[in-house]
């Protein structure tokens, strides 16, 4: 069965091709599109399950499936198109195809009315295919195909409604930010090839510890360049600015690409390259600190956002920060654990938000209202109209806030515990733990605020819309229910000992992480009193945050967007997202634009290339042509004279 792993990639790819063909030829065949789009994903999920079952029976050794020789460069560098099935890629495989199938199903309901339905599913299937290449690739170049491919699909889907310029710009922004990261990955690849002589994941893990000095400059540079790629793909400081804008795409896209799967690719890459990252303490510090700062900063911004998707977007950035705290401290299992649970509850939150937006949109349509359907200030009291959505999003909120026994509690706690434990190595880790705990408090707060503004109180969108609000059809709510169950029980994947669990995920990933554990110094997990204090702190943060969020939001009536009093002080700074976009604009975009316009365009291209080079060649040719045309004066005698001169010259040459 493992040999058939290529099917998992090929099926969504086939779906993409078929749907693409339909999108071009018969865009109205929506039933066929749904069948192909969802069907190929479910089939891929079936393949994934069977592969996973087989992997569960085995001893955990990685199986590499060579498809064909891709780049026979030299004798030492032969890159095969090969897929690797090990316990890490199986986890990712299940999450991507599983959550992907649910989101595809949701999309059938959400996008049904859209004219670009077939195009949408073609992109979405293509995305899944590339994402699977990313996680299944057996070497960096193969994974890089997927890495670039998901970036492309992300761009296509963010700008899906490209007739609005803002959406197209958001797509471009995402693509460019990702390009900066991709540059880092490429550099890292070159350096790896130069210093280690292979790009194969398994071979790197084997050879790198022997070839590279522990904590040396080379391994630090390689990992930092890799991490630059991760900051782009996984929206960390300094490249996180694209993710909030990426909400311009359809909501299921935000759920699948910008919450559950693609943005976690960076975390996945760090785990894949765990050996290298473990070898460089400096990089580990950088990763952890970046993750912690991102988690904290994004959480603060999320506190003052009003667009329901923007809140979730900053929440995603923040949660990704947590994952990087995990993988940065060397707690790779915890990082992957949080990745999985986050995929569940964040997908659920986005899809729930999608249901709300869907309902608002329909109500607006029925009531001919011009309100912003994504602005939470226009919502309120939706729990009566949308009980299922309220219930499921409530579960997800509890999960993300870290209330036991929901999924997020265990994964987040594990990460924070790992950071705390590493605190004895460097105070930076301790600071990261503190930032993470503060972010957890804020996470609970902004999620409670979101729930309160959306579902509690009284509807603020006007009486005309109210009767038209209702839960989404079952094709949309069904996936939410499944994700809800997963959000509640997901913590069971890696249940710690104090809760009666057996650390299943840790044992599952143990064969994959064996080379890493061989290198790393053992992490002293907190025990006894410390452990319970940490747990108590985390629970307290969650509960206090939730309570405060609901109380403070409901304390005063929420103002409509038009009546919003101007914000002051810190709130204003947060609402403006720390002016980071403006700072980047001032520091990067404008100088680049100036340089491109003045120097590259006007100076080099227009003056040197066009005027001097191209124009100069034209002038010279023109001059020569003018001289030549003077020779062609039409006088036969002149031609004969030239002929005679030529004859003289030839004679002169021959008769020395």
């Amino acid at each position: 069965m493992t040999d058939l792993i290529w099917l998992a990639v090929a099926l969504p790819l086939l779906g993409a091709i078929l749907n693409g063909a339909i999108a071009v030829a018969r865009p109205t065949w929506k039933s066929a599109v749904s069948f192909i789009g969802v069907g190929t994903l479910v089939a891929a999920f079936a393949v994934a399950v069977m592969v996973a079952l087989e992997a569960a029976r085995g001893d955990g050794a990685a199986t590499t499936v060579h498809l064909w020789r891709w780049m026979p460069v030299t004798e030492r560098l032969n890159i095969d198109l090969a897929l690797v099935v090990d316990r890490l890629s199986v986890v990712m495989l299940l999450v991507i195809t599983g959550v992907g199938s649910l989101i595809h199903l949701f999309s059938v309901g959400y996008m049904r009315a859209d004219a670009g339905y077939a195009r949408y599913f073609a992109y979405l299937n293509l995305f899944v295919a590339f994402m699977l290449v990313l996680v299944l690739g057996a070497s960096l170049p193969v994974s890089f195909i997927g890495w670039e491919g998901v970036g492309l699909c992300s761009y296509l889907l963010i700008g899906f409604w490209f007739d609005d310029k803002a959406n197209a710009d958001a797509g471009k922004k995402a693509f460019l930010a990702n390009r900066i990261g991709d540059f880092g990955v490429l550099i890292a690849m070159f350096m790896l090839w130069w210093h280690v002589g292979t790009l194969d994941f398994g071979a790197i893990a084997e050879r790198a510890p022997a070839l590279l000095p522990l904590g040396g400059t080379v391994v630090t540079a390689i990992t930092l360049f890799l991490f630059l790629g991760c900051t782009g793909k996984s929206a960390q400081i300094p490249l996180f600015v694209w993710l909030p804008d990426a909400m311009a795409g359809p909501t299921p896209v935000s759920a699948l690409i910008h919450a559950a799967t693609m943005v976690t690719a960076g975390v996945f890459l760090v785990v894949r390259m765990g050996v290298l990252f473990t070898m460089s303490p400096v990089t580990q510090l950088v990763v952890t600190l970046t993750g912690a700062l991102t988690a904290f900063l994004a959480a603060t911004i999320a506190l003052r956002q009003y667009d329901i998707k923007k809140v979730l977007a900053y929440s995603t950035v923040s949660q990704l920060g947590y994952m990087f705290i995990g993988v940065g401290t060397g707690a790779y299992t915890a990082g992957i654990f949080h990745l999985v649970t986050h995929a569940f509850f964040k997908a659920l939150l986005f899809l729930g938000a999608g249901s709300v937006i869907h309902a608002m949109h329909h109500a607006q349509h029925a009531a001919h209202s011009e309100l912003d359907g994504q602005d939470m200030r226009n919502m309120g009291g939706l729990r009566r109209a949308m009980p299922w959505t309220f219930l499921l999003m409530g579960l997800a909120t509890l999960a993300i806030a870290g209330v036991p026994p929901f999924a997020g509690f265990f994964s987040k706690d594990e990460i924070l515990a790992a950071a705390f434990a590493r605190g004895e190595v460097s105070p930076v880790y301790l600071a990261s733990w503190a930032l993470g705990l503060a972010a957890a408090l804020m996470t609970a707060f902004y999620m409670a605020r979101l729930m309160a503004m959306t579902f509690m109180g009284r509807f603020r969108g006007g009486d005309a819309m109210q009767p038209h609000l209702h839960d989404a059809p079952w094709i949309m709510t069904g996936p939410l229910v499944v994700l809800g169950i997963l959000s509640v029980t997901g913590g069971g994947l890696n249940l710690p000992a104090f809760a009666g669990g057996s650390h299943f995920l840790e044992h599952w990933l143990e064969p994959v992480l064996r080379p890493v554990t061989a290198l790393a110094m053992p992490l002293a997990h907190p025990h006894g009193m410390t452990e319970f204090l940490l747990l108590g702190g985390a629970i307290a943060a969650a509960v206090i945050g939730l309570a405060a969020g609901i109380r403070l939001t409901l304390a005063r009536p929420v103002a409509l967007p038009a009546d919003q009093p101007p914000e002051r002080g810190l709130a204003r700074l947060l609402a403006a997202k720390y002016h980071i976009d403006e700072i980047y604009d001032f520091l990067v975009v404008r100088p680049l634009m100036w340089f491109s316009t003045r120097v590259l365009w006007k100076g080099i291209d227009q003056f040197i290339v066009d005027r001097i080079a191209v124009g100069g060649i034209a002038r010279v040719t023109q001059g020569l042509g003018w001289l030549g045309s003077r020779l062609q004066n039409g006088q036969v005698a002149f031609y004969v004279a030239m002929f005679a001169v030529g004859a003289v010259i030839i004679l002169r040459t021959l008769a020395r």
């Binding site: 003077r630 062609q632 004066n633 039409g634 006088q635 005698a637 004969v640």
Partner: protein, 98 residues
């Protein structure tokens, strides 16, 4: 044998022919200058035929044939041009001017 004097005479006649082609503007006279150059070449052939055998003379025979053909076609062309432009002055015929 008179080899050297013949070749010298041929050179002089050829140069006179070239000069004629270069300085005259009447197409027919130009043609006659070309015939003069051909004759100069023929003289070379004949002179060297004393040394090299009959081939030289036969070549002269061919040159005469070709010259006759050339004269026929060339004069016909001049006739056609004259009918078209009413002149055989080559300075007036500069359609090839670039």
């Amino acid at each position: 044998m008179l080899l050297g004097p013949s070749l010298a005479l041929s050179a002089v006649l050829f140069a006179i022919g070239v000069a004629g082609v270069l300085i005259r503007r009447n197409a027919i006279v130009l043609f006659m200058c070309i015939e003069l150059m051909l004759n100069a070449v023929n003289l070379t052939f004949i002179a060297l035929a004393q040394v090299h055998g009959m081939s030289g003379q036969i070549m002269v025979f061919f040159v005469m044939t070709v010259a006759a053909a050339e004269a026929a076609v060339g004069l016909a062309i001049i006739l056609a041009i004259f009918r078209h432009t009413q002149t055989v002055d080559l300075t007036q015929l500069n359609l090839l001017k670039g």
